[in-house]
Amino acid sequence: MSLDVVILFLEQGIVSGLVIGSIYALLALALVIIFKTSEVPNFAQGEFYMAGAYVALFLVVFENIPTVLALPVTLVVCFLGAALFQKFVLTRVWKAKGSPINLVIATLGLSYLLKGLVRNTGFGDSPRTFPSLVSTDSITIGQASLTYLDATIFCTAVAVMIALFLLFNFTQLGRALRALGMNPKAAQLVGINLSRMNMVVWGLSGAISAAAAILVAPKLLVSADMGHVVIMAFAAAIVGGFASLPGAVVGGFVIGIAENLVGLFVSSQAIAVAPFLAILIVLLIRPQGLLGGRVALKKV
């Protein structure tokens, strides 16, 4: 491989990696905010993302609602859906037997349910596209090429991340959520309404996933299996540090770039196994991830 090609591959790999990585980062954030407050790795996260895409698809393509109205409606629907799942299903599961395993299994059940529902409506049979709000003409950065859509995806995702950062650090709601993440019992003692906060967290996670889906749907198409990208989000969260929000963001970009570089320099076939290897390696060598601080105390 000549030096020219190596440089081309590096430039393209990094640029494309940043774009797709921004989506992984959003999904990883959605995973981590739940994990920090409910201690549950949400195996239905991919289906939140997929459901968001289908709700938007339904509204825009089938009901012909103008995009400007359909997108916020989608976000609200997904926020509510996730919040209600937390309130009506998960709280009952926790009360029935307080073990995190059961919560995880419940999320697994939800993921099958959502996938089955989408397939049953008949939309899920062939991959569909979502109209792009932005042109798909190409622009070049150095030797790397990307589209206006790609640039929009990246910028919007970063904007969402900044908004979340502001939310968590400068609003009362954000402070309450952080308190919940640090110590639920203490948070309750200072008057924070746990059940409402938990609903908000899950709702946020649902809305963020839907936002990611809406952003990337014109690029990656909408299909019932699109939730499969969640494995990348898990890898991103683990690499960055499963209990760290900035870690999730960093992890997302790392995984996105790694995916592209592995595909370019190793083989296209290796792309599929790369996230699993990343998870295993990180958990073996540095389980707290890049930004996770010290290893969490073991549960007693």
Partner: protein
């Protein structure tokens, strides 16, 4: 008290085991054949994510059998069919096959739209000498090496897909270097084997990128293809990855001809939408295994027959589905073999009739042809240039020349 329980338990086990051994399968040359009927076991994915591969082809097979019955049946017997759903996975297919054979006592099996699932039934079918005529599955894994009981590839084998598309690239585009993107699954391994052989034979080189069917970011494989600067790009992927690759090729400014194998052409209208319209399809070709372009008069009789048999389905949008016609040639072959097997059909007579069959189905690009060493029915393809709205036929029929054992 415990001892008595244990003794009863042991006795029950012993009885169970003896009775188990006693339930041996009876030997019978013609189960499923009565004075006035022949029972056929049909199976395909008629629900689930892969419904498009089997639902309408199965309907086509059924409508052919119904037509034959309406004309008096075969040698005075009506064709009686039982249907099972395989959902395109090996476990369900094996269960469906065993159910049809052991519970429904069918004479022969006619089914299978998903190759890798169909392969799972091979040993069972061979061990019990049950003729299996695949539906529209490529079925390479069960056809190479050929076994007495199994016939298939009525649409086309994956080997023939790969071999013929290379032939087309070389003959039509005079390509010396061919970019080739396939999947790292069973189908991918089959089509690449023949593609490599044909490329070598024709003096061309292949630049191969194998991707997972679940891939989402296709930047890496497409960039590598572009860097290799081939004369054409062949895609033998499924529809979703194909759309992503075509889009990415356009983004990267790759403007050589792109040829999409029949594996990914399920819904061309949707594909045009998915890649953003005409701009990405300026130099885009599709492989087809039917006798004419979709919509041509050569195939009108098939669609008319479908409309008559299934008026309610035909009235729905998206029906009949693209693979529907593929269900006809297998049913035709079954009927011909039954006819030839005569008044007292046995499974062996049926298989014998298949082993030297040749006929023009008037549905597929090439004849349905078998020999004792070749149980793959159809090996020819035609090509169309698709610009997003219309398909234009490229003259010529391109046939795979790879045979089992060629390296």
């Amino acid at each position: 008290m415990k001892t008595i329980r244990t003794r009863i338990a042991v006795a029950a086990v012993a009885i169970g085991m003896t009775a188990g051994f006693a339930g041996a399968a009876y030997a019978d040359d013609a189960p499923g054949v009565t004075k006035d009927s022949i029972k056929i076991g049909l199976f395909a994915p008629i629900s689930g994510p892969n419904k498009a591969y089997g639902f309408d082809p199965l309907n086509a097979a059924k409508m052919w059998y119904d037509k034959i019955n309406a004309e008096g049946g075969v040698n005075g017997r009506k064709i009686d069919y039982v249907v099972e759903d395989t959902r395109c996975n090996a476990n369900d297919l094996v269960a469906a096959v065993k159910k049809l054979v052991e519970q429904d006592h069918v004479f022969i099996l006619n089914g299978g739209s998903c190759s890798s699932a169909t392969v799972a039934a091979k040993d069972y079918v061979v061990r019990n000498n049950i003729p299996m005529v695949m539906l529209n599955a490529s079925g390479d894994g069960a056809l190479y090496p050929p076994v007495k009981q199994i016939y298939g590839a009525f649409s086309i084998s994956q080997h023939a897909v790969g071999g013929s598309v290379v032939e087309f690239s070389v003959q039509h585009f005079k390509a010396r270097k061919i970019g080739y993107i396939n999947h790292d699954d069973a189908y991918g391994s089959w089509n690449i084997e023949a593609a490599k052989y044909m490329a070598k034979k024709d003096g061309a080189t292949l630049d191969v990128q194998s991707v997972s069917p679940t891939i989402s970011d296709v930047t890496a494989p497409m960039l590598k293809i572009k860097a290799a600067n081939p004369d054409v790009l062949v895609l033998t992927t499924y529809a979703r990855p194909a759309a992503l690759i075509v889009k990415k090729a356009h983004e990267l400014g790759f403007n050589k001809p792109i040829i999409l194998a029949v594996t990914g052409t399920a819904n061309l209208g949707q594909m045009a939408e998915n890649v953003g319209g005409k701009a990405a399809l300026q130099n885009f070709y599709t492989q087809e295994v039917l006798a004419g372009a979709p919509g041509s008069e050569k195939l009108q009789w098939v669609y008319d027959m479908y409309k008559k048999a299934y008026p309610k389905l035909a009235a729905q949008p998206d029906y009949p589905q693209p693979y529907m016609p593929y269900g006809l040639p297998p049913a035709m072959a079954v009927v011909r073999a039954l006819k030839e097997a005569g008044q007292n059909p046995t499974r062996d007579k049926f298989l014998d009739a298949l082993s030297h069959m040749k006929f023009d189905s008037k549905v597929m690009a090439g004849p349905i042809e078998f020999s004792p060493q070749d149980h793959a029915a159809q090996e020819s393809t035609i090509y169309l240039k698709f610009d997003g709205k219309t398909s234009t036929l490229i003259p010529g029929v391109y046939t795979n020349a790879w045979h089992y054992g060629d390296k």
